[in-house]
């Protein structure tokens, strides 16, 4: 007689596994929501605190300024806090919704378009920097002697001030870069500057990551007679990812900085750097616009950082901390 056991159905490992998995996924989603809410609230509070400090200090300076004759000494030492030097927070944020003279768009939309332009330059530079950085890391990891010989130069490359090389690259780009099958654009020069800041953290951390597997892990691959590329794809690259993403977070924000500095020192016709420069020229007539455009640059930097962090969560996951002990 066939025995039907209700308990056996509930105890079926597949059913149980499925339930456990569903539960785990649910918990994970809930944890993620809680985490995002908590981080957002913390960030908002932090911004409010900054705005409060700014406003408070401004009020304090204003108060001293108003009693100039009583507080002559203090007043002459402290920086000026009038509306020209420190526009009120409300006006800086209000600027986002306003339409500057001669424009038909609100300022936040203008900044968004400029940011998109900068982001494109930075992203192109970032990707090239990632490839070059990983190529250097791979070469240095492969040939130890090269590491001793080349690494000092890689480090030295970062001691050259960006402001100094940016114009050179732009000039070279216009005059000499006609070896490429496409016409050289000024924004490409800006991307090279972003690359210059990106490849370095990638190369240094990538190298550390590629060298991070323990000797036993290397020996294990050797005992399987694994070849170079098998060891690279199955051991060294996965092991390097946590290191690499630490570098990519730095590199992403650095690529934005590079692009903005590049724009400022080149004749490129758009971007946040260009915008910041022109707002600086028109400072006396609209100081709040300069502050607003600098805020825009900060938001762009935070945005790319968050994007890299998100990609890291997807790619590396929570289990990977290099090869397990």
């Amino acid at each position: 007689m066939a025995k039907i056991d209700i308990g056996a159905v509930a105890d079926d490992p597949l059913v149980r596994e499925h339930r456990l998995k569903q539960q785990a996924a649910q918990e994970e989603r809930r944890d993620a929501v809680v985490r995002i809410v908590r981080q957002t609230v913390t960030f908002a509070l932090f911004l409010a605190l900054l705005a409060g400090l700014y406003t408070g200090y401004k009020a304090f300076g204003q108060a001293i300024d108003d009693r100039q004759h009583d507080w002559a000494v203090v007043g002459s030492v402290l920086p000026r806090t009038d509306d020209l030097n420190m526009p009120p927070v409300s006006e800086i944020f209000g600027q986002f919704g306003e339409t500057p003279g001669g424009q038909d768009q609100i300022y936040v939309k203008i900044l968004f378009d400029e940011a998109l332009f900068t982001l494109r330059e930075a992203f192109a530079g970032f990707m090239v920097g990632l490839v070059i950085g990983m190529a250097i890391a791979l070469a240095l990891a492969q040939w130890r002697r090269l590491e001793q010989g080349l690494l000092p130069y890689v480090i030295a490359s970062q001691t050259i001030p960006l402001i100094a090389i940016a114009p050179i690259i732009v000039i070279w780009g216009r005059k000499n870069f006609d070896i490429f099958p496409w016409e050289w654009q000024d924004w490409m020069s800006v991307s090279i500057i972003a690359t210059y800041l990106t490849f370095f953290p990638v190369a240094v951390n990538g190298l550390r990551g590629l060298q991070s597997p323990r000797p036993e892990n290397q020996e294990l691959m050797e005992s399987y007679a694994a070849n170079w590329s098998q060891t690279l794809w199955r051991l060294r690259l996965p092991a390097s990812l946590p290191y690499l993403f630490a570098a990519l977070k730095i590199a992403a924000t650095a690529s934005i900085v590079g692009a903005i500095v590049g724009e400022i020192s080149s004749g490129v016709s758009g971007g946040l750097g260009r915008r910041i420069l022109s707002e600086a020229f028109n400072y006396t007539t609209g100081p709040d616009r300069l502050f607003a455009s600098v805020l825009g640059a900060a938001v762009l930097g935070i945005f790319v950082f968050l994007v890299v962090t998100g990609v890291e969560r997807l790619v590396v996951g929570r289990h990977s901390r290099g090869a397990a002990a």
């Binding site: 490992p13 294990l220 005992s223 996965p238 289990h319 290099g322 002990a325």
Partner: protein, 255 residues
């Protein structure tokens, strides 16, 4: 045919330099199929070096090392042996199943065959419920069991183990020893096992090789014939006699 045949093997590290180390001197060893050999000796006596010679992770300075009647190098390329280390050395980014599948991937097995074999191996080491877990979610003993499953996944005729239970607590360790003996019986694999622990060596082996300190040689070979092991074996006077015999031999080499 011997699984391992070593004749006059020596190993000198950094020859001709000031930091030259004579690690192994004149090793002769023949291991027959199905044997369980342990290498025991004081720290730095070259146990691990000898194991790595067999694994062809290093090559002998002189002499020859043969595995399955071919040069050790060829045996490595043919994947004739599996290896387990003191640390489980699992890849953290892979699930337990994917860790066991690693050697099979490298050998070009199809996905279906890999899945099937990994499931069989998990059953062998009694970890079927943890197939989808990541190593970081397992205890040290469980990780070591996964490492053994990985080493045996492609049914090598030889299993090389370098102090695999060294980092485990005593209870887990004894349990793992029983598990290993069960797997050894079920698979018929020849095992070479490096350890620091005298009771472990006696409990596991058919032969204990006592090694002398640098340069390492095989000072004495102690045959162990205790029959089938069980919890009672550990209290058996015959077991204690063998432990004493190994201890005496170890004391002798350290003098």
């Amino acid at each position: 045919m011997n699984v391992i045949d070593i004749q006059g093997a020596t190993k000198v590290f950094n020859p001709g330099r000031s930091n030259q180390v004579e690690a192994l001197a004149e090793i002769d060893l023949a291991v027959e199929p199905g044997e369980f050999i342990t290498l025991i000796g004081p720290s730095g006596c070259g146990k691990s070096t000898l194991l790595r010679l067999i694994a062809s992770l290093i090559s002998p300075s002189t002499g020859s090392v043969e595995v399955n009647a071919k040069p050790a190098e060829q045996a490595r390329l043919d994947r004739d042996y599996g290896m387990a280390f003191q640390t489980a050395g699992l890849f953290d980014w892979r699930t337990v199943t994917k860790n066991i599948e690693l050697p099979l991937e490298l050998m070009g097995w199809s996905k279906g065959n890999r899945r099937r074999r990994a499931a069989e191996m998990l059953e062998l080491v009694k970890l079927s419920d943890f197939a989808k877990h990541h190593p970081s979610e397992l205890s040290g003993g469980m990780q070591q069991r996964v490492a053994i499953a990985r080493a045996l996944a492609f049914s090598p005729s030889l299993l090389l183990m370098d102090e695999p239970f060294g980092a485990l607590d005593e209870m887990t360790r004894e349990h793992m020893q029983d598990e290993l003996l069960r797997i050894w019986k079920e698979t018929g694999t020849t095992v070479v096992f490096v350890t620091h622990s005298i009771p472990e060596a006696v409990y596991l082996s058919t032969r204990v090789l006592v090694m002398s300190p640098r340069p390492g040689t095989i000072a004495s070979i102690i045959d162990v014939d205790l029959g089938g092991r069980s919890a009672a074996t550990r209290d058996d006077p015959a077991f204690f006699n063998k432990v004493t015999e190994v201890r005496v031999a170890l004391r002798k080499v350290e003098e």
